[in-house]
Symmetry: D2
Subunit: 186 residues, 4 copies
């Protein structure tokens, strides 16, 4: 495992920054994550609730995307899930607000885990879709935001979850709905 | 197991990693970005096409989220936009595939910039919604993926863009539609 | 104004029925409606709440589509609306259930009127979209169904309404969300 | 004011009309349909393509909703479907345009039948959702409109169809996407 900062080889990124001495000094961030295949494998023999509990207590590491986007944490209930994030500059889009994709990641996580929390061992799910409504811009000044989702409908073949993204004062920034396919062993 | 000091100070992350000596060594990545307020400010006097051209030629830095998620690059046309990304482990969800939120970020970027490319200076837009359909899982084995979007409708007050996410062979992984609000100066 | 049943001149409809003596006898229904331009004109000087009250008390006739699909009635509150319908055979699709478009009509009506109920005189709205989730089939055996909607967000330029379709026992059959554009006088 | 006995006995409708002598004379329409259970039963042993062909040639009657809303007709291909309708006053909402639910019915029909056309005998589908974008109002002046849909993705468990609603000149009025669940025999 390298201890050297990974050279970013994407076209024009690190190079651009170095090449332009009059630009604002670049901000930099280093983050770490763990092998996600271990997480996926751990899911095989556990119910959704057991899986999420293992994750919450730290028995299992969080999925890499939570580290990449610097999620603050998550909380799970029976048929519900909440993910928290504090907006940072590295979440920003070109319009000067948190990118809608970051909000999508929070809300998709909450919707998916809310469904997962109700599934017994051996039953799996996958997200078929995600519909997001953006109601207000999120910025660093917004402070910590929370995406909470609950399961509206759990059928044999499909499930529907609905999520809301709010700040600490309960102000609503976005909503989401997601249909999941529920897959039983053959 | 890494002993590298993790810059990430979010609750419970660095601590978790240090506390568990039998865990897989953590992977690590360092990335840099530039002050996004300069990008947003640069948009004030330029048309969407000028803004996107400045970005593509490197006159303006890319928005931070592109660095955070390690986008490969972007291409813009008149009423169209494409964003590319090579799936990496740090994009993964707990199911062992690229998180839907990463695909959402690519598709939302493509839809938004496709609309932006048609707006004259002084006219702004904001995304009202994003509807995503996930058709197949994306993994590291998928190789580079591209989100391409085009403008289906541009009215005085709203615009509609549609996007598709494909691999190098043209295989379809997800679709998106997004309504944008178009705002003219008072 | 004719009092003769309108000859249905659409390709192959009335003619088909008459031409085939071994078929089940066709069912038939006659319904009436009133000039909708009077309804639209009446909206010019009234707030949404006044308009909906005039409609509910019978001062204004219901819109034609309510007669065409045989809605049972509607109820309005401040930021809410409910439409009721008793499923009949003439609402059916080829799969032997109420067509999703009938549920869409109920839910779109409820979402739109919920938004309308909050608008002052001179401010208008139009529906930008409607996202429906179908959770269970609706049949004649379901009995009366009610589409209830409430306003989740009312901004200066847009509004968001959410609706649910339930039977008399409160069982959920479908959900809807709708974004509306809010238009102020120039 | 009409004295024609209205067949419609839903609460408050016939009574309203009779009670108001100064109102515009009501318009009236009579339509017929056939037992939809025969249509549903006929589907059991046929592929989607056979079913749709039987419907198009008149071997099977159209589903009741097509008569209720006075569809002009339908055309089917392999993985595609189109439904036509000429806007009439009885399709109108209170805003003086064709109700979004009528457009939803056309587009949902087109999306569902496009998927159905690809399914072998014994394989069934149901619509999970419908997302509609309304781009322009449809009125009687629009003339005949056509909802055309095609299948974007057909997987083992789900399918995705996309539809567009246009007038005779090809002008776009609305779009739709619909996910369907595909059900194989146990």
């Amino acid at each position: 495992m390298t201890t050297v900062p990974e050279a970013d080889t994407t076209a024009g990124s690190a190079a651009d920054v170095a090449a332009d001495p009059v630009r604002e000094p670049a901000r930099q961030r280093t983050f770490a994550w763990e092998d996600p295949s271990a997480i996926a494998a751990a899911g095989a023999g556990r119910s959704g609730a057991e899986m999420l509990a293992a994750w919450q207590t730290g028995t299992l590491p969080p999925p890499p995307i939570m580290r990449t986007l610097d999620f603050d944490g998550a909380t799970f209930g029976e048929g519900s899930a909440a993910f928290r994030l504090t907006p940072r500059e590295f979440h920003y889009n070109p319009l000067g607000t948190v990118h809608g994709g970051v909000l999508a990641t929070l809300l998709d996580s909450a919707c998916g885990c809310a469904v997962h929390s109700l599934l017994p061992a051996g039953v799996f799910y996958t997200s078929l879709d995600l519909t997001l409504k953006f109601l207000r811009p999120v910025t660093i000044q917004t402070g910590q935001i929370t995406a909470e989702a609950g399961v509206t409908h759990l059928g044999r073949r499909t499930a529907l979850a609905e999520g809301r993204l709010t700040d600490a004062a309960g102000r609503l920034y976005a909503t989401a709905i997601s249909s999941c396919l529920v897959m039983h062993p053959a």
